[in-house]
Amino acid sequence: MRDNLIVSGSPHIHKKASISRIMWTVVLSTIPAGIAGVIIFGWDALWIILVATIAAVSTEWAFESITRHKVTILDGSAVITGILLAYNLPPGVPLWLPAVGAVFSIIVGKAVFGGLGQNIFNPALVGRVFLMASWPKYMTTFPKPFNYDAVTSATPLAMLKEGKIPGHIPYLDLFLGNRGGCIGEVCILALLIGAAILLIKGYITWHIPLTYIFTTALLTYIFGAKQLFQGDWLFHILSGGLILGAFFMATDYVATPLTPKGQVIFGIGCGLITAVIRLWGGYPEGVSYAILMMNAATPFIDRYTRNRIYGT
């Protein structure tokens, strides 16, 4: 897709990648996490994913039809927004919540900017923070994993925020998803499988995820405990939405810097803000806010990390 941004004379090199192909491959890469979410949290999770996706696609179709633009729902980007929004929601939410969130994501996160390729912010995250601010009670009630009745439990990060050090949760549980959390964020294994697909195909690069995760780990290692350099960085990497965010949302083509140098700055910034919120802020998790803030800073980052044109 970056090829579309190059304005130069021929000859051009053609790649097989087109916007649709990339988007649908991303959709594919999110499926493992979705399956894991449904296994861990039950059919409720599936309904939420479906409602969010259908709402997103319908909204985009409606908006584009009414404003007489070309209808682009087949390019898969609305589907991705719906899926990612759903993955950021707790499994027990009433179904109108993802629907409203998806509509908001598409309209305020994408359509008002002019559609695909022009949004400044990651649309799914715009929807998520809207939902978080609007219905905090629903957005912070997490059912227990593998428990298909409505028993709730706190997420590992929430426990940490309240001062109860969750040392009793084995890392394997965190890795496989045996913990409370949002639908798509809990099963790290499934997320990494999907991320591997994208990395192998070259649709995302390591710059953002690696710098993001590393920065967060570093800061939580240094400051995460009563004494310096005693923090449980592995816990932090495996908890919350860090892996989901770093690989699937912080790597959004449109809302992130163009150059590798810019991407590294972006990744570090995200990591910094995430760690600061997790360590000292009021919220237990800061991934969504961090990515959105860095999205806002991206125009600046792009400006100051422009590649020098050969010959100037």
Binding site: V108, F130, A133, S134, W135, P136
Partner: protein, 197 residues
Amino acid sequence: MKALIKEFTKGIIRENPTFVLVLGLCPTLAVSVTVANGIGMGIAATFVLLGSSVIVSLVKDFIPGRIRIPCYIVIIATFVTIAEMSMKAYSPVLDRALGIYVPLIVVNCIVLGRAEAFACKNSMASSFFDGLGMGLGFTLALILISGIREFLGSGQLLGHTLIKGFEPIFVFGMPSGALLVIGLLLGFFNFLKNRKR
């Protein structure tokens, strides 16, 4: 007389200070959390607007051009102080709710803007009706915005619950919601304006 009525009505729709002139947004967004606050601010601002417009139009020939802005500010500030003190005395609840935005009426672009753009060039009668119209337009805009925000953000209007079982959308009570509402309203009014052409 017809001309005076025209001065009055223009402030309500054609040159509505909030939606058309896009002035005085700071207090508009800040206080529009509930309709009660909106009306309170609207009345206070209208009082200041009326008073200052009238006085400015009366003394306009006596003020040297170079220092006219500070002079207007002093006149406006006097009325704001009167409004402030009256509010503290007769309605301390409202005063607490509106907080720092009451003294900030001094720098409300609408008030200074009307003094500079209109009152200093027109007669007392015209200025009076202009001030009244602008104040009313401002108050109506406040009621519209705070009505939307209060209803969506807390399910109530003027403190009364309208629809049972309505899940309030808290974001509308927050600054972000205010910015969203005004952005969408401005877009909507633009849309209406564009359609007319």
